[in-house]
Structures are given as structure tokens and as C-alpha cells.
């Protein structure tokens, strides 16, 4: 796995974001059981990995990540950022008791937040667009968040069912 071309703005930005995001993650009170949290955070990384693998690979190359057009070390570190992001989304969903009509509003608002964060990433040279524009990412984030929320609901339902069965 190649190392970065130069240890500059994009690498420092990724490292600072990892430190900040994970600090916030560990400071937040736990509203979601650890077993579900870990699966969801891995799922968040998986969604990002899928998107980049499909859209930033050699066959369809809409954008490049970090310094190389290859799979480098800081690509892996960048994926670690998606884990707390997925957790924050679901933490807020639970904390604010988002239900019914407010779910699509919440998803749209969080997508806007994700777009702004992606724009900042582009400014710092984390993403290099080739045949991609920031507005295309809106649909990707909408789809990713809906998928994440659906998966969370399934996990929560199964978790509560298993807990009830175990107690009986």
C-alpha cells in the first residue's frame, strides 16, 4: 500500500478530523448498545468504501482520493472518518427522537451537513474531482443515509427481540 506523495494539508486535515471526531464519539453518552454501534460504524465505512470502489476505481474514475489514483494508506484512514459520522447521524436520530414526518427533514439536513463537510475536504485536497461535481454527492448521501437508517431499524428490532428471548 503506497504512502502519501507528500505529508501535507490533506493528510493533516484527515488526522485532525479523526482525532476530533473520535474524541467527540467517546465523550458522547452512549444511547446505542455497543454491539449495534460497532456494526453500524463498520457499515458506515462499508457504504463509503462501496461508493469509492465503484465511482473512484480504475474503470469508472469520477474522482481521486488523497495523493494517488491508487489505494493508499491514507485512503484507509479516511474511511475511519465515516464510522463516527454514521454514529453521529444515528445518535442525533435517537437523541432528538426523530420520527414520522421529521425523518426526511432530518435526512436532508444531515445530507447538507455532509455536503458542506465534503466541500471542505475538497478544499483541503482530500478529493480531486474529475467527472464529478459536488451536487452529485447529494443523491449519494441521501441514499447512504436512508440505507443506514433502515439497517439500524432492522438491528434495533432484532436486538430487542433477542434481548426479550434471552430474558424469557
Amino acid at each position: 500500500m503506497p504512502l502519501p506523495n507528500a505529508f501535507d494539508a490533506n493528510e493533516i486535515f484527515v488526522l485532525i478530523c479523526i482525532i476530533v471526531f473520535y474524541s467527540v464519539f467517546f465523550m458522547l453518552p452512549k444511547r446505542i448498545p455497543w454491539s449495534i454501534t460497532i456494526i453500524l460504524m463498520l457499515f458506515g465505512i462499508l457504504l463509503a468504501r462501496f461508493a469509492d470502489h465503484l465511482m473512484a476505481g480504475p474503470s469508472i474514475n469520477f474522482y481521486d482520493i488523497m495523493d494517488w489514483d491508487k489505494y493508499e494508506l491514507f485512503d484507509v484512514l479516511l474511511y475511519l472518518l465515516y464510522a463516527p459520522f454514521a454514529y453521529f447521524f444515528l445518535y442525533l436520530y435517537e437523541r432528538l427522537h426523530i420520527r414520522g414526518f421529521f425523518i426526511p427533514i432530518f435526512i436532508v439536513l444531515f445530507s447538507i451537513f455532509a455536503i458542506v463537510f465534503e466541500w471542505i475536504n475538497v478544499l483541503f485536497g482530500v478529493f480531486h474531482y474529475k467527472n464529478w461535481e459536488l451536487r452529485y454527492s447529494v443523491s449519494v448521501y441521501l441514499l447512504a443515509q436512508v440505507t443506514l437508517l433502515l439497517f439500524y431499524q432492522i438491528l434495533k428490532h432484532k436486538y430487542n427481540k433477542e434481548l426479550t428471548n434471552f430474558r424469557e
Binding site: F43, Y71, E162
Partner: protein, 157 residues
């Protein structure tokens, strides 16, 4: 379109996997599947993007087959064998099953090589088998670690 049987077999395989009564819980299977997807996609990226020891056919249909193999077939095949191994009580039978697992998994990869979906450039079959063994061991170690967490939360016994 070349090799339409590939898609038919994939669908049948998925139906079989869904119908198969799995000994591991939904949480454990989800965890294993996600870990496998992350490891396998990274492994393939290193093989055909970074080191270029594999060349993947650029024909659209064949490339789609490769993606399906990478994202669906291989992870679910390994997940299926992990579940099958749990069902087998005797250690010597587990050993034989593991060897069958390696043969079947490599057999699928060899089929892709035979169909010119994958071309080995500086690669040999035993390296693939070694990677499957490492994948299996990594996943089982991580699973053991997280099973303790699930047990603490009283999700599994």
C-alpha cells in the same frame, strides 16, 4: 452476453444462502459479512489497482461479473463456510470441510481466470489460497473478540 449462467448461478446461490438455517445470529453474520466486504475489497484493490498482479477484463459484462464475484459471491461463500463449520461437531470433519472450502473458493476464482475475467500477471494459485486462509483466520479472530461483547450484552448465549 458471455457466460449468462454466471448470473443464474449467483442468484441460485443467494437463494440457497438465504434459505440455509444459519447457526450464527443475525448480528454475528452481519459483523462477519461487513468485515469480509472491507477486507476483500481492499485486497482486490491492492491486487489489480496497486500492484497490478491481476488484470481484470475491461469488457463491461465481464467486469460486472468480476464486481459481483468481489462484492457478493466471495464474501457470502466465506460466510456460508463459516456457518457450516459451526454446525460440524468433530474437529477432523471441520478440517476436511476447511479444505473443501479452500478448494471451492479457489475453484470459483479459477473459473474466472478460465473465462478470462481475471488474468494473472505475477500471481500463482497458492498465493490466493494463502490469502483465503489469512482472511478466514482474521475474521474468526475478530468474531471471537466481538462475541464476548455480544455475550456481555446478553444478545447471544
Amino acid at each position: 452476453m458471455q457466460h449468462p449462467i454466471f448470473f443464474e448461478l449467483t442468484i441460485l446461490f443467494l437463494i440457497f444462502f438465504y434459505s440455509f438455517t444459519k447457526p450464527y445470529s443475525f448480528f454475528e453474520n452481519s459483523f462477519i459479512f461487513i468485515i469480509l466486504e472491507l477486507l476483500i475489497s481492499s485486497y482486490f484493490s491492492v491486487l489489480y489497482v496497486n500492484t497490478e498482479v491481476w488484470e481484470v477484463n475491461k469488457n463491461t459484462a465481464l467486469f460486472v461479473m468480476f464486481r459481483i464475484y468481489e462484492i457478493i459471491i466471495l464474501p457470502i461463500l466465506i460466510l456460508l463456510f463459516i456457518n457450516i463449520l459451526k454446525l460440524i461437531p468433530r474437529k477432523w470433519l471441520k478440517g476436511i470441510t476447511f479444505i473443501i472450502f479452500l478448494l471451492v473458493t479457489y475453484g470459483v476464482e479459477y473459473t474466472l481466470v478460465h473465462w478470462d475475467i481475471i488474468t494473472y500477471i505475477e500471481w500463482v494459485y497458492w498465493k490466493s489460497i494463502l490469502i483465503y486462509i489469512l482472511l478466514f483466520i482474521s475474521v474468526m479472530l475478530l468474531l471471537k473478540f466481538f462475541q464476548r461483547l455480544f455475550q456481555k450484552e446478553r444478545i447471544i448465549s
